[in-house]
């Protein structure tokens, strides 16, 4: 029989107990699994949102050589921001995708306008920028820099609590994601339509967007929350599994979020619901997790927010365990307004 990894390593200087500690305690140190700019945004928010003292204005600007670029403008070294080191309030900070080490400079005055002008004066106004406003716990992201002030996304970040992640928290982030970005998604958030036609990858698009939104929303949690995407279990493929660091020790499984896209007709929507319910129920049981949520994204014309018709005649055990939410997605802001501008709550 072939030698296992453990056997191969048993003859080496590997400290097996230490490797085990990494697995049980450090898993939440894996970097967010996104492209560089999304990773930068999540890490920048993480650097500031968990801190009790981040009540002022912090501006993070993406740079591929932060200190080299900042030094001529009077920026100085700031280290280990992800561990809560360094003063970030009322600062502009140049950093790369991990927003851990960087270069910082204090704002001359504490106004957003003045700080944005300072960026332009340093020719840094064309970089992906995150403006954190501690007073309202909001992160505004300018993907193409503050010079393009019309192109931005705003994210509300939850308070820096020490609490356990709950099903209600997950539903809250689903509401926020819907109200802010998904009710009538632009191509920048989730590309669901091309030339009026639904794309086949709509489910992946929504999943990608939600992963980012969940990572941002919970970035303020004192006990880090991570999303494991597309995990394969004995029960099949789970869409998003949430883990959170325990009050003591390492990260633990918190819950599972199943996503389904409804494209009609009714019979196949019902089938998708049956599948989502059964997956949520089985993953939760299989992985012994506290909760399971099924989010249905309705892309029908017209869409609906009422899960009741889809739940009729479904397995009662599944319905009892899995919380189901249905979100109507509109293909344009006009369609959304014409439908009475529904908001998720």
């Amino acid at each position: 029989m072939a030698e296992t990894l453990a056997e191969k390593l048993s003859k080496t200087a590997l400290k097996a107990a230490m490797l085990q500690s990494v697995v049980s305690e450090d898993l939440d140190h894996i970097p967010p699994d996104f492209d560089d700019l999304a990773r930068f945004v999540i890490c920048a928010v993480r650097a500031v949102a968990r801190r009790g003292d981040a009540v002022g204005l912090s501006i993070f600007v993406y740079s591929e050589a932060p200190l080299a670029e900042g030094k001529p403008h009077g920026f100085s070294l700031i280290m280990h921001m992800q561990d809560g080191r360094g003063v970030v309030s009322n600062m502009t900070i140049l950093a790369s995708r991990d927003a851990n080490n960087g270069a910082a400079r204090a704002h001359a005055t504490n106004s957003i306008e003045a700080a944005v002008e300072e960026l332009a004066a340093c020719s840094l106004d064309n970089r992906t920028t995150v403006i954190w406003d501690g007073a309202v716990r909001t992160a505004t992201v300018y993907p193409e820099g503050t010079a393009k002030e019309q192109t931005f996304y705003r994210f509300v970040i939850s308070a820096p609590s020490d609490d356990e992640l709950t099903q209600d928290d997950v539903c809250e982030v689903l509401n926020v994601a819907y109200n802010d970005n998904l009710k009538n998604p632009s191509g920048h958030t989730a590309k669901l339509w091309t030339k009026g036609k639904l794309v086949s990858t709509a489910e992946d698009e929504i999943e990608r967007h939600l992963r980012g939104q969940i990572a941002l929303f919970f970035a303020g949690r004192a006990r880090p929350v991570r999303v494991l995407p597309q995990t394969n279990t004995a029960a099949g493929r789970a869409d998003l599994i949430l883990i959170q660091k325990g009050p003591v020790g390492g990260p633990r499984l918190s819950g599972v979020l199943e996503l389904k896209v409804l494209r009609g007709p009714f019979a196949s929507d019902k089938e998708a619901t049956t599948e989502g319910l059964s997956q949520g129920y089985n993953y939760r049981a299989e992985l012994e997790m506290p909760f399971a949520t099924l989010a249905l994204y309705d892309l029908n014309d017209p869409p609906s927010d009422d899960p009741a018709p889809l739940l009729e005649g479904q397995n009662a055990d599944h319905i009892a365990v899995v919380r189901v939410r249905r979100f109507p997605i509109y293909d344009s802001p006009k369609a959304w307004r014409d439908a009475g501008a529904p908001a998720a709550a």
Binding site: T12, V23, A68, S96, N232
Partner: protein, 225 residues
């Protein structure tokens, strides 16, 4: 001011030479990216060493494949030669120059960082090649993971590497010829295996970035005992 002929000559040469040189510029560039520069001689060699042993995680081939186990840490004579040339060409700045004595030999050590004005045009050309972008991503990941290590622990962290620790002092460690003797990579894979066991049946899969970061977390722990 860079002497263009000198630069051309330095960048020329058979495949492995040019790869080695580009790799060195990229290592210094990623040190800037993670804000761990200027980087000392010892750390640059340790960084180059880890970048070599861990490259299979990104499905990249190792470059040197062998290293002499010296007391003070990994050291590649070719890398040092190229580093000196980079300084001579005006592509890197030297600070904190000092002499150290090991057994009967004296070495000059210093700290280095890229002189970006000269190096950036070269790197711009290099990064147009997709295969180098993958390498850049890996170097940035490793530099970022090392950049999270407290300054005082960094040297011990780099030397806690499993392949390095397993080798005998004064001998050549060969990790390139046989994948089976690259214990660093095997340890990183073992982390994934253990993670899968811990999160019973989630079918958790760790990406290469996660593996590099978690392996460096292991090195930090191992450096402390």
């Amino acid at each position: 001011v860079i002497d263009p002929n000198g630069l051309q000559n330095w960048l020329k040469g058979p495949g492995v030479h040019i790869r080695r040189r580009i790799r060195l510029l990229m290592l210094l560039d990623s040190a800037d990216y993670a804000v761990i520069s200027p980087v000392s001689t010892a750390r640059l060699h340790a960084f180059a060493y880890l970048a070599d042993v861990l490259s299979p995680i990104y499905n990249l081939t190792t470059l040197s494949g062998v290293v002499l186990k010296r007391r003070i840490g990994p050291y590649f004579p070719e890398l040092q030669w190229d580093l000196d040339r980079i300084v001579g060409l005006g592509l890197a700045d030297v600070t904190n120059l000092r002499q150290v004595v090991e057994v009967s030999h004296a070495y000059l050590v210093a700290s280095f960082n890229l002189r970006r004005k000269g190096a950036e045009p070269i790197l711009d050309v290099v990064y147009r090649d997709e295969s180098f972008l993958m390498l850049r991503d890996f170097f940035r990941e490793l530099a970022g993971a090392l950049g999270a290590v407290p300054e005082d622990d960094l040297d011990a962290t780099a030397q806690a590497d499993v392949t390095w620790m397993t080798g005998h002092r004064g001998t050549v460690i060969d990790y390139g010829e046989w994948r089976a003797s690259n214990y660093s990579e095997l340890s990183a894979e073992r982390i994934e295996e253990l993670a899968r066991e811990r999160f019973s049946r989630t079918g958790l899969k760790l990406g290469p970035a996660a593996k590099v970061n978690l392996y460096v977390r292991y090195l930090r722990r191992a450096a402390h005992g």
